[in-house]
Amino acid sequence: MNTPNPNERLRKLSLKERYAHLTRGLDWQPTYQDKKKIFPFTDYEGIKIHDWDAFEDPFRLTMDSYWKYQAEKERKLYAVIDSFAQNNGQMNISDARYINALKIFITAVSPLEYAAHRGFAHVGRHFEGVGPRIACQFQAIDELRHAQTQIHTISHFNKFFDGLHDPLHMYNRVWYLSVPKSFFEDAITAGPFEFLTAVSFSFEYVLTSLLFVPFMSGAAYNGDMATVTFGFSAQSDESRHMTLGLEIIKFMLQQDEGNVPIVQKWIDKWFWRGYRLLSIIAMMMDYMLPKKIMSWKEAWEMYFEQGGGALFNDLSRYGIRLPKYHEVAKAEKDHYSHQAWSTFYQYSHASAFHTWTPSEEEMTWFAEKYPASFNQLYRPRYDYWAKAEADGKRFYNNGLPQLCQVCQIPTFFTEPTDPTRISTRTKIYNGERFYFCSDGCHDIFEDEPEKYLQSWLPVHQILQGNCGGTTVPEVLDWYHLNQGADNFDYLGSPDEALWENWQSARKRVIAS
């Protein structure tokens, strides 16, 4: 019986142990400076950490191998970008309408990558524990790489199409881009734990598929291999990003019971903030991809209701429940993309991308994907607009919309229970009335009114004269929007003229 077991050999160190030996004790203990002064942001959010070493390193990577991996990824990506340019890949996309999805990506998403770089660099300095600090520092470099590779990839399309020429300037000024900008600045100006809950958990983990799948599969379906490739390149970093999101949530929930309600509040807030931000993706998916992948409704069901459902089922063991107002998102899935597109359709004279009325074929697809809403509520509207356009009276809305004080989206969403009534909430704070698009945004304001009363709301700023002038053309100049080319309907745009020119040249070649 007591014969030695041949399997009880001298054990090789596991990867985790090797990593621990490599990194252990590298942080220094301050002797002449108070630790609180070195890490001033650790405590004020109310998160209690008793043992920083209990943080599980979400990935075990050395700087040396990091550079090796990333350099290899860059080589592959830039080879694809070069061949795409050499083969005039821009001519082989499904339709020039597709480029409008890239216009949204480069002005609304790529600047977020850069903002994420700044955010992670900041918390990568300010976390007291060495584990999360290193994880954040790696991610800060990743995000910078993502912003750069996206700008490099899409710059090829800028040689041919409008609206792609000044994304970072536009991000800081254009009215609808204040939606992603304010989202991220809300996260960056929060404490380090809230920042990670907002970005690493809610955005990178819970909602990431809803952002990346539409863009990357959309690119693949529509012949844009360059964008697909930067998507893959970025997604291969996501393993670290998503795992950081999960680990930081587990870490907070396990370290102290008092952290649970704080984390729940942040999950509620950042679910709603992220979901509202995705309204622009919903519209992109359904309306801007000439070859469609799946509807917004299907994507929401697959990635949030099912995937997120499993996650929150597991999180319930910590006492965490599904985010507040998830049922509103469920009720809105039949309407979200249609209401967003309808709004941008009316304001295309002031946007850096084009809109159009959907084709009959697309409307048939919408009717099939949205049987509960499309034919009853949205088709009549498009029919009406198409007729006005045919009569030479393409509808543009010259009024300025009421923006939500929190998400900064025009208050165009309808009541979850009644899609014929606009949802508006108001709140008087210090004698001033504030407006919101939903209960979700109202509650976020109510929790931190002093933060959100500082919101830089584009419409208010225009009316106060802070945006280049008092007329629409002056404001658009201030946005660096190339008027007559970047804006208005796709029909009649230089993009359309160029595309039709390429198509007819191709037909001539085939005919000759």
């Binding site: 014969t3 054990r11 893959f232």
Partner: protein, 350 residues
């Protein structure tokens, strides 16, 4: 067609169907590997192939680059086997694991006795040095006329390598268990392989232990508790055994006797259904521990064995009471239906 997959540093071996991904096979067998996207894009499930042959399939060339393929890396979520294979994964080895080689055994039934109306106790006599195992592990028993073996935990302690005890619940409609209930007789020979499983005592943590058993899930805890007591482990041990009716609480005498002689051992039988004539604890196991510990479990180690709903309810209660995955161990015999239940990558084992 199946191949054998061995996962280092665990030393665990499992069968993988042709065309089945390594990740799928591991998760179904209860071996957790790091994973996230599940379709070859993110690289979270990267492993190293030490021996054997695999196909990468749909692994993204960014998530798994050419130089990594040359170095023997693969993504478990897309890779399938082309031969018997050994991999090394980024999982924690455990200093309490003994990595005992799996062997084939022939045992002769020495005794059989009904422990309750539907649980059969079976004792198998083994020749020579017997079976080496860690308390809590199970065997795969071949039942005559039935192709696939069935898993049963060993209820006797490792100090009895030549006589092992099994608790076999009659599964309604179950071929193997009904054969055993109706035909197993002393003198018969039964074939089995083992020992299997990663449900064993994590002694190195030095914490008080809480054993939660439901129905015939008493088998592993029985082995573990007797083993601890035989080794004079001084730390507190609590056993909560839940059943529907008092008559289903088998081996009560054994545990009452142990409790009398070993003050560090506490035995709490509990009844959740028919309580007539019962003066002990009432309720499901998770309800009983909630009361007993006032909902606080920090500083313990919990070992769970029983039907999946009982395990899930107990994990919820323990975690709400601030005892986390690191200190919770369970043997949940995973049925295909359980494996298909949607889970997130949040937890590794529980």
């Amino acid at each position: 067609m199946t191949y054998q997959l061995t996962i280092e540093p665990l030393g665990e071996t499992l069968a993988v169907e042709k065309g089945q991904t390594m990740l799928d096979a591991c998760l179904r067998a209860g071996v957790w590997l790091p994973h996230a996207c599940g379709h070859g894009l993110c690289g979270t499930c990267k492993i190293t192939v030490l021996e054997g042959e695999i196909a990468h399939n749909e692994a993204s060339s960014f998530a798994l680059m050419d130089f990594e393929r040359n170095e023997g890396k693969a993504l478990a979520c897309t890779a399938t086997l082309e031969a018997d294979t050994v991999i090394e994964a980024e999982i924690d080895d455990d200093i309490d694991a003994r990595h005992i080689p799996i062997r084939d055994f022939r045992g002769v039934i020495e005794d059989r006795r009904m422990l309750t109306d539907d649980i059969l106790g079976l004792w198998l006599r083994l020749p020579d040095e017997g079976i080496d195992f860690q308390a809590g592990q199970y065997i795969a028993l071949f039942v005559p006329g039935i192709e696939a073996p069935r898993s049963f935990s060993i209820a006797s302690p490792p100090s009895q390598p030549n006589l092992i005890e099994l608790h076999i619940r009659l599964v309604p409609g179950g071929q193997a268990t009904s054969w055993l209930h109706h035909h197993a007789q002393p003198g018969m020979e039964l074939r089995f392989t083992g020992p299997y499983g990663r449900f064993y005592i994590r002694k190195s943590a030095g914490l008080p232990k809480l054993f939660l058993a439901g129905g015939s899930g008493l088998s592993s805890p029985q082995s573990m508790i007797i083993d601890l007591i035989e080794q004079d482990d001084p730390l507190p041990i609590t056993l909560v055994h839940g059943a529907r009716a008092p008559k289903d609480l088998y081996n009560m005498g054994l545990f009452q006797e142990l409790a009398v002689h070993h003050p560090n051992f506490r035995y709490i039988p509990a009844v959740s259904g028919d309580i007539s004539g019962w003066s002990g604890e009432i309720g499901l196991v998770h309800e009983v521990i909630q009361r007993l510990y006032d909902g606080r479990f920090e500083g313990h180690q919990a070992y769970l064995c029983g039907p999946p709903p009982m395990i899930d309810a107990c994990i919820m209660t323990l975690m709400r009471g601030r005892l986390f995955e690191h200190h919770i161990f369970n043997e949940k015999f995973v049925t295909p239906a359980d494996a298909e239940q949607a889970r997130s990558p949040l937890f590794k084992r529980i």
